[in-house]
């Protein structure tokens, strides 16, 4: 009997401990967000969002890095999205599991594990120096695209796998060729899932600093990048700059917390949209 009591006590204790762990991690997340919001909210104003940085980062706003981040997202997705979806189509529709497919899978897996700073080195050596794109929106965007590619492939593949077999069978039964089936039936039905994966990728890309440090993000740019060969300011790099390169820290500090808050709102906002969309998709399945 006492052993039974002991076991029950252990059970209760472990349950309590598990609740405690969850509460602790929720508290850490909450604390971080609350602290940043508390320190940053004072800096947020329309001017802050819509003005260019001025006077050595001590005045003005952060519209240049916001726009730069958006442009980086667009360039990276313009590269990663088509390539990612096509690769997923290959995996799911064309591949017969041969050596080529295995090699490709291994490559994609390895790509996913390349540390972001190593991707930055690669971007510097390949896009900036070898292809002569220089430190530009294009180089940085493509480097970020490489970062997003494996995630996009996995997400698109899952979406394609979730298309019911009957859809394909129906199309073949009506005499559709494989490509017609893919293009007119499979892709449209998988589309919401693919987009959701894309949105989550955008959330990841928007917050990355290390890959763009050497490939295209600059300390200060005069207004928006007007071509893909211009260098850009980007929000995450701007935070790093404000934290480490200001001459008057007392003046840049409020701007800094404001910038962090904007980046968090952007990244977490985008990923929330992705997460909610994914949850709704799953319910529908």
């Amino acid at each position: 009997m006492s052993i039974y009591l002991l076991r029950r006590a252990a059970d209760r204790a472990s349950t309590a401990a598990l609740y405690g762990c969850m509460a602790l991690s929720a508290a850490v997340l909450g604390l971080i967000l609350a602290f940043l919001a508390y320190r940053g909210v004072g800096a947020i104003s329309w001017e802050f969002i819509s003005d260019h940085p001025r006077a050595g980062m001590t005045e003005g706003g952060i519209v240049t890095p916001i726009a730069g981040t958006v442009q980086l997202i667009l360039v990276s997705m313009a590269f990663a999205f088509p390539v990612g979806v096509t690769t997923a189509v290959y995996f799911n529709e064309y591949s017969r599991g041969g050596a080529l497919t295995k090699a490709l899978r291994l490559a994609v897996r390895s790509l996913a594990s390349v540390p972001s700073v190593v991707l930055g080195l690669f971007g510097l050596a390949f896009f900036c120096v070898f292809l002569r794109f220089g430190a530009s929106l294009l180089s940085a965007g493509l480097t970020l695209g490489c970062l997003a590619l494996p995630t996009l492939i996995t997400a698109s593949e899952t979406a394609l796998q979730n298309v019911p077999r009957e859809f394909r069978d129906a199309s073949y039964a009506l005499g559709g060729t494989r490509w017609q089936t893919i293009y007119k039936v499979v892709l449209p039905s998988a589309f919401p899932g693919i987009i959701t994966g894309g949105i989550l990728c955008v959330g990841r890309v928007a917050g990355e600093t290390a890959p763009i440090m050497f490939t295209g993000a600059v300390f200060f740019a005069p207004g928006f990048a007007r071509s893909i060969f211009d260098s850009v300011m980007a929000l995450p790099y701007h935070i790093y700059v404000l934290a480490t390169a200001g001459t008057r820290i007392d003046k840049t500090e409020p701007l800094q917390y404001g910038t962090i808050l904007v980046l968090l709102a952007l990244v977490l906002g985008i990923s929330m949209v992705g997460i909610v969309a994914r949850a709704r998709l799953r319910k529908r399945l």
Partner: protein, 309 residues
């Protein structure tokens, strides 16, 4: 890449000819899809090629033993010394400490979500974990540098708050979601029958979780842990901003460290292209790349081992 497309077209030829008019409508998309998909292989090959190409020349300046065992990292002194041991030790130390903090905690969180958490709160817990995973590392690095470091220095009366403990703690936060989410997936996939069997034998929930469910999911958890370690090895901004940057072999948790990633990020900008220092930094990139690829192969091994069962 175009050549790859051509090859596919020729191999598809005879079959296409039978189908007559539809031939091109079928073969062209297939060729295009295949060749675009191959860009993944190209990309990975390029990454490896360019890193080795830029990293290998350092071996002309110094020997491999000197790099691996040298204790002094003075890349621009005269004469320079390229000992990377302190940097490798720094990477290893923060990775180890952050894994020790994050892996057990992550697994416990995963257990909570998969087995204890009330159904209604499950989604909420999973979503908040996922959001934690989206926190940009530069933000955590900033917190470490501007908030934690001064406090840690004053409270614990350390020499500096920018140290291994600070950076590892933040790294732990960063890799926690990876570990917890992936572990949870494999815990949740353990068949209900396993749990039922344990309960039927009179096991409590605690015993079921730790003795049955955890064991069944051990492969998945091992994979999750390795993926977490992988992320920790490669993380840059947190260690750049919060680890202190002293190129020494750390002996205490309060020692500042200089992991490989932060060395690359801090010094790449200052070094002339083509100098031995530049090649040395790319060599570090190679090291990091090979470490992560090796870990990746380990994950694949575990995965395929699971398939045999």
């Amino acid at each position: 890449m175009e050549r790859a497309g051509e090859i596919v077209i020729t191999t598809g030829g005879p079959r296409g000819a039978r189908r007559g008019a539809r031939k091109w409508g079928e073969i062209v998309p297939k060729g295009v899809v295949t060749s675009v998909a191959l860009s993944g292989i190209w990309l990975m090959a390029f990454i490896i090629f360019f890193l080795i190409k830029e990293g290998a020349p350092i071996l002309k300046e110094t020997s491999l033993t000197e790099i691996a065992l040298g204790q002094l990292w003075y890349p621009v002194s005269n004469p320079p010394s390229y000992g990377m041991l302190p940097l490798i030790a720094g990477s290893a130390a923060v990775t180890l400490l952050s894994s020790i903090m994050a892996i057990p905690f992550g697994v416990v969180l995963a257990l909570f979500i998969s087995d204890v958490c009330p159904e209604r709160a499950r989604e909420f817990c999973k979503v908040s974990l996922e959001i934690l995973g989206f926190l940009p590392s530069v933000v955590l690095g900033f917190i470490g540098m501007a908030v934690i470091a001064p406090h840690m220095q004053m409270k614990l009366e350390l020499l500096s708050g920018l140290n291994m403990l600070n950076a590892s703690f933040l790294l732990g936060i960063l890799i926690l979601p990876t570990i917890a989410t992936l572990s949870e997936d494999s815990l949740y996939a353990v068949p209900q029958a396993m749990r039922d069997a344990s309960y039927a034998l009179g096991g409590t929930r605690c015993e079921t979780m730790f003795k049955v469910v955890l064991k069944c999911a051990s492969r998945g958890i091992a994979q999750a842990a390795i993926l977490g370690v992988m992320r920790s090895v490669g993380e840059t901004m947190v260690v750049l901003m919060a680890a202190g940057g002293a190129a020494i072999i750390p002996l205490a948790m309060s020692d500042p460290v200089r992991p490989l990633t932060s060395t690359i990020a801090a010094e790449m900008g200052e070094t002339p292209v083509g100098s031995p220092h530049y090649h040395a930094l790319f060599f570090m990139g190679c090291l990091l790349l090979f470490i992560t690829i090796a870990l990746n192969i380990l994950v694949l091994r575990i995965e395929s081992g699971g398939g045999e069962k």
